[in-house]
């Protein structure tokens, strides 16, 4: 299976659960499982190639100018992580099927889960760091959705937000670091970057790049001091915790550390920062974990601690530690996922995960108890379980690590960490499952159905198998470790995984840790009392304080300019833009006048005067709203005349038809709004506004005048369009050819925007009609006397008679659009006006009943026709929206030309037509009220009807 497909499968699969959900919960979970399983099979299909020593790789250029290529590769490291993500993913899906209740929206859950899974697989398979960053951000976003899945719980929402804030900020830092790294190496392909170790480490930008990348990794992998988000993310449903917070997302940071290990590791600053952070995290989190009463909180801090352990191992920068790190990633994923699922089972069955309310579950839930025991012992580092082996290697490494010249610091810290680790593992098991059976569980527990415990039980198999027979994992772990180290290190020769290495320092430390852990658990009560007295800073409070301070700061900045007063914002905006423009003008240089002014034409003066006088009159009489509309349409009319005069026939036609529909729209609106604007602005405010307006108007006029007297600074691209319009686009109306051909994609977007606007209007109207406004509208008393004749005879007859004529004109304008002024936009408006006239003359009800297609459908059809025309070009191997044309001769007609652009223009026509009608008829719907009687007849007085009817 192609690597592309492996990454793509979960994303494509994410579309399914929501649909399949209708068929039942079982089908929904099954589909999701099959998607993951299929990707897993795809992964294994590459195993032979890997075993043969090859690294499968695929690449497609995406944005080559940025160095961003869609490049995936599958080396052993990528295989290892993808195996964890998809393998544990399959188990989690089975578990979630039984964990989620009927109240949970399973389709939504599995959709998010698959999105997350796809993003994770994308991270580990990426061979391009920019691509990796995209998937990295996708994991932050999809995990936000998963953590906050229970939207009704405030904890879930806050936890999700905190996780997104912390990991999102880390992601931003990481972007910076990765870009610097790519710049140093001269390539964004990981394979290339890994060849430049010496160059990267010698670069002066190595330290900033390293710091930024580490910030990203440490926030994602919850390292101190960014560890606090992980426990709060435990508000998520348990399958999410088990998946994201044990095996996958929190390992993403570690994955990047491992991926870039060959080029970043080994320097002094790397060792100090990475191993130091790792060991501190390990110890602190282990101590906190011991005193947590919530099972999932305990596991969360233990996860932080184990992640610290792995980071420490990667930080020491030698091959032995790298092998140990890989080994522990594997072991930790198995036992921690099993433990999370066990905690979920306990919660599910007993309805609490508070350790102080549990205990004695051993007799009630034997199967769960066995699973928990195996996984806990592995986590504690007891021999014969896999956790022991990698922890032994960690202690061995710690025993030989000096930190800042100190020989005992690291060994002591590692032992303390291991000791607390053993203690909380014991506490998890003994305080929950052993002891006397209680009678006050919130819900009487018993073992869950098979489907719920099978997943953690399956994970126990590798725990024991590797624990007993360490060598079975050796080949795999070594292969992965070699992929981690690349050319920067080799596996130590004598290294073998085995249970007995003799009495080494590590064994002694391990013994101290296990014994000490057991003693600490026996002394748990006094220890807990001491812990209660310690002043431990509470991370959430600090985080909230920082967030609140930032909110207060932004409010302090925004509030003075943006206080909910639109008038004020508009005034500030106008002044700011004017002043900036004036500054640009004053500080720039003005070129010489290069154009001869056009001669004044006597016809122009009256039009200009009408426009100016109307606009000024609008200001003076704006309180009379009806008069304002009349004056505004005069301005619009004069503008269309101006367009016609200055060689823009298309614009003139568009402007005048838009003027008509806008006027109808505003008249409809005025039907509901007060007809007078009250006089309420004080004189000083009027003077202030007048001053601002005149200031801005003068600047605009001056700028326009100066511009009109000068030629273009650089040659216009108009020449190209004029020259290619006929030979390339097949039309002589260059404006129309630009719209449907040269810039067809823009036009496609614009008709969609227009359609969206119309649908918004429809939706808002429908919403208004459902709410309390409906009653208000129905009982509205008209504020002006209605005409006695609702459907005037003359108007009905006239609109009916001219309707075919208008339609004919519309068709004509549409057909000639490619060569003469006209086209889809104008024809759409004209035909819409023909229908609106029917609405006005014969009433909403009568016209609505005769309308065969819904207006939304017409908009949709328009967008579809335009889109399909564009797609059509694909079939002949051209890019989207490439047009073509041919000349056709039908006997009896002149030779005429048919362009594919005409079908595109048909789409434009339909979309514009539908959008105008949908908006206006929505407004008209509001106007119907209680006393309104729908008439079956187009006019009130029908000459052919007799009195008897």
């Amino acid at each position: 299976m192609s690597l592309f497909l492996i990454v793509l499968l979960p994303f494509l699969g994410a579309l399914l659960p929501g649909v399949i959900q209708q068929a039942g919960r079982r089908a929904c979970a099954m589909t999701t499982f099959l998607v993951s399983a299929l990707a897993l099979i795809g992964l294994f299909s590459h195993l032979p190639a890997l075993l043969a020593g090859n690294v499968p790789r695929v690449e497609v250029d995406w944005i080559p100018s940025l160095g961003l290529n869609v490049a995936f590769h599958l080396d052993w490291l990528a295989f290892f992580f993808a195996l964890l993500i998809l393998g544990i993913g399959c188990l989690i899906i089975i578990y979630a099927r039984f964990y989620l209740t009927r109240d949970d929206n399973m389709g939504e859950f599995f959709t998010y889960l698959l999105l997350f899974q796809g993003a994770m697989v994308g991270i580990v398979l990426s061979d391009n760091i920019l691509l990796l960053l995209i998937f990295w951000e996708l994991t932050s976003l999809s995990s936000f959705l998963l953590i906050g899945f229970w939207k009704h719980l405030p904890d879930g929402r806050q936890g999700a937000r905190m996780a997104l804030t912390v990991t999102g900020m880390g992601g931003l830092a990481m972007i910076g670091g990765m870009v610097i790294l790519g710049q140093i190496a001269g390539s964004y392909n990981i394979t290339d970057i890994l060849q430049h170790r010496a160059e990267i480490q010698a670069s002066p930008y190595y330290v900033p790049a390293l710091l930024l990348i580490l910030l990203g990794c440490f926030t994602k992998s919850a390292q101190f001091p960014f560890h606090f988000w992980l426990p709060h993310a435990m508000a998520a449903p348990t399958p999410v915790s088990a998946y994201l917070h044990s095996a996958t997302m929190v390992k993403a940071g570690i994955f990047v550390l491992a991926r870039l290990w060959p080029v970043l590791s080994g320097t002094e600053i790397w060792v100090i920062l990475v191993s130091g952070t790792g060991i501190i995290t390990m110890v602190i989190a282990a101590i906190i974990a011991l005193f947590k009463n919530d099972l999932k909180a305990l596991l969360a801090f233990s996860t932080v601690s184990h992640l610290g352990l792995i980071v420490f191992l990667l930080g020491t920068g030698n091959p032995y530690a790298a092998v140990a790190a890989v080994f522990h990633i594997l072991n930790h994923a198995t036992f921690k996922a099993a433990l999370f699922m066990t905690a979920g089972i306990v919660d599910h069955e007993a309805h609490t995960r508070d350790i102080t309310r549990l205990g004695g579950l051993r007799h009630l839930m034997p199967v769960t108890t066995v699973i928990a025991l195996i996984a806990s012992l592995s986590m504690a580092g007891i021999p014969l379980f896999n956790g022991f082996l990698s922890k032994e290697m960690m202690l061995e490494e710690a025993a030989h690590t000096t930190y800042l010249g100190n020989h005992w610091l690291i060994p002591v810290l590692a032992t303390v960490g291991a000791l607390f680790s053993a203690a909380y593992s014991f506490r998890l098991y003994f305080h929950t499952f052993t002891g006397p059976e209680r009678h006050d569980y919130p819900h009487h527990p018993h073992d869950p159905p098979f489907g719920m415990w099978v997943s953690p039980a399956l994970l126990c198999i590798p725990i024991i198998a590797i624990g007993l027979l360490p060598w079975i994992a050796e080949g795999f772990v070594f292969a992965v470790s070699e992929a981690v180290m690349g050319s920067a290190g080799t596996i130590p020769e004598k290294l073998h995984f085995k249970l007995w290495h003799g009495v080494t320092p590590a064994l002694k430390m391990s013994g101290i840790a296990v014994l000490g852990g057991a003693i600490l658990l026996l002394l748990y009560r006094p220890a807990n009392a001491v812990w209660g007295f310690l002043p431990v800073p509470f991370a959430k409070k600090i985080f909230d304080a920082i967030v609140n301070a930032l909110v207060a700061l932004s409010r302090a900045i925004i509030w003075p300019t943006h206080d909910g007063s639109f008038t004020r914002s508009a005034a500030i905006f106008a002044v700011a833009v004017s002043v900036l423009g004036l500054h640009a003008f004053m500080s720039g240089t003005l070129g010489p006048v290069t154009r001869e002014p056009l001669d004044m034409h006597p016809m122009v003066i009256p039009g200009w005067a009408l426009m100016i006088i109307s606009a000024c009159a609008m200001v003076l009489y704006h309180r009379n709203r009806f008069a304002t509309l009349i004056l505004m349409s005069i301005v619009g009319l004069m503008l269309s005349v101006a367009f016609a005069f200055f060689s823009a026939p298309d614009l003139a036609m568009t402007q005048i038809s838009v003027e008509v529909v806008t006027l109808v729209l505003l008249l409809l609106a005025l039907n509901f709004l007060p007809n007078e604007t009250p006089a309420e602005s004080p004189v000083m405010i009027k003077i202030r506004d007048g001053f601002i307006a005149i200031f801005a108007g003068l600047l605009v006029a001056g700028m326009t005048y100066q511009m009109l007297l000068r030629d273009f600074v650089s040659p216009s691209i108009a020449e190209y369009h004029l020259a290619n319009s006929k030979p390339g686009g097949g039309g002589t109306n260059v404006v129309n050819v630009i719209l449907v051909d040269f810039r067809g994609f823009d036009t496609f977007g614009e008709i969609i925007v227009l359609g969206i606007a119309a649908v918004i209007i429809y939706a808002l109207t429908a919403m208004l009609m459902r709410g309390p406004v409906r009653a208000k509208l129905l009982h509205r008393k008209p504020d002006k006397p209605l005409a006695g004749d609702k459907h005037p005879l003359m108007m009905v007859v006239l609109t009916r008679v001219i309707m075919p004529v208008v339609l004919l004109v519309g068709t004509y304008i549409f057909l000639r659009g490619h060569n003469m002024p006209g086209g889809g936009f104008i024809a759409g408006l004209i035909v819409a006006i023909a229908i609106i006239m029917q609405y006005m003359a014969s009433g909403y009800g009568w016209t609505y009943d005769r309308q065969r297609f819904p207006h939304h459908g017409i908009i949709g059809a328009g967008v579809l026709v335009a889109g399909l025309t564009g797609i059509g070009a694909w079939f002949v191997g051209h890019p989207f929206l490439t047009s073509s044309f041919a000349y056709i001769k039908i006997p009896g007609l002149e030779k005429f030309e048919v362009a594919s652009a005409m079908f595109f223009d048909l789409g434009v026509f339909l979309a514009v037509f539908g959008a105008v009608l949908l908006s206006l008829s929505s407004f008209a719907r509001l106007a119907r009220h209680k006393d309104y009687e729908e008439s079956d007849h187009p006019m009130d007085i029908d000459p052919s009807r007799t009195e008897a009817d």
Partner: protein, 122 residues
């Protein structure tokens, strides 16, 4: 002739801005329409003024005006209708449900009062 076009654009801008700074929805909407005229006219004029040379190719024509600003403005005119319609329905909805057509928040400080700790509306 240039002075006429420039002054017309200036007057449309000034009157539009003045109306936008009024307190009720209706004059604000009409003011934006005037600003739209001004902006469209300005964009169109950026192709420079030419009389009697429409961008329709023919054998007889010796010169053509710049077709690109025209194509841009054509869609802008249609989109501005859509925008006006959306703003009008919002203004109408606000007036019908609140009985108020003032564009300003009457009690700006009160905006903050109603929010809970999470910044969500109580």
């Amino acid at each position: 002739m240039e002075i006429l076009v420039a002054s017309a654009i200036g007057v449309l801008t000034a009157t539009g801005l003045y109306l936008v700074m009024r307190l009720r929805t209706f004059p604000v909407i009409v003011g934006t329409s005037l600003l739209t005229y001004a902006v469209n006219f300005f964009l169109f004029a950026s192709g420079r003024l030419v009389v009697g040379a429409p961008p329709i190719l023919s054998e007889d024509a010796t010169r053509y005006t710049d077709p690109i600003p025209q194509a841009l403005v054509l869609t802008a005119i249609v989109i501005s209708f859509g925008m006006t319609a959306v703003v009008v329905i919002i203004a109408l909805g606000a007036y019908l449900s609140a009985g108020e057509d003032n564009v300003n928040e009457p009690d700006p400080e009160g905006l903050l009062e109603g929010m809970d700790e999470e910044g969500e509306r109580a």
